[in-house]
Symmetry: none
Subunit: 121 residues, 2 copies
């Protein structure tokens, strides 16, 4: 997976924020760089496992991707206005790994999202 990955990432970059695989697919078509849907999915998945993009899920379960400048991190989201703050989670990473080890689990991933009310709300 090599020829298409850069083009997909570039498209995601131009998209600005979050974009679904389907949206990236459509954008590439409009930009004159049509690419197979399966290839778009493969590229985004690869980028996700490489931690070069973040993945979140809409309420309906659809995956949204975003170029990830800083590496793995989590989100603090205002439940009222939607304001989102990216937060570091090294403490959580360590905790997750130790919990996994203590229970004999391998290849552990985690979902960590924080919700609350921002200052304005």
């Amino acid at each position: 997976m090599s020829k298409s990955l850069p083009a997909v990432i570039t498209t995601l970059e131009r998209a600005g924020g979050f974009a679904s695989a389907q949206e990236v697919f459509q954008l590439m078509r409009k930009q004159g760089k049509p690419t197979g849907l399966a290839t778009v999915y493969r590229a985004l998945q690869k980028a996700a496992t490489d931690n070069t993009v973040d993945v979140i899920r809409k309420d309906d379960g659809e995956a949204l991707y975003r170029l990830c400048a800083t590496g793995h991190h989590h989100h603090l989201v205002c439940t009222s206005c939607g304001k989102t703050v990216e937060v570091e989670g090294s403490a959580v990473e360590k905790w997750a790994n130790s919990v996994a080890k203590n229970n004999g689990f391998k290849k552990v991933s985690h979902v960590v999202e924080l919700f609350g009310l921002c200052q304005k709300c």
Copy 2:
């Protein structure tokens, strides 16, 4: 929505940990309380908006529901066989609260779930 909701919740309770809508549907069938799939979905969605159940998403996007425990805790779930271990998260609680305070957020809640492969799998 009333007749089916209690039965769905009871089934979710018996399931122990997390269960998908499809699993609840199958369980109710086996327990001699067959209920329509659409009804199961409706009941779980209602319970979710009422905050009587938690909703998380597997890596593949499938929604998992869990009866809101009386005592707050998290889960370590095997993505292969579904084995679930309840884990303490005081370290995460502290982290979440400090992150919230640093960003001026109030009434912070969090979703923290761990996924991996258990020893058998």
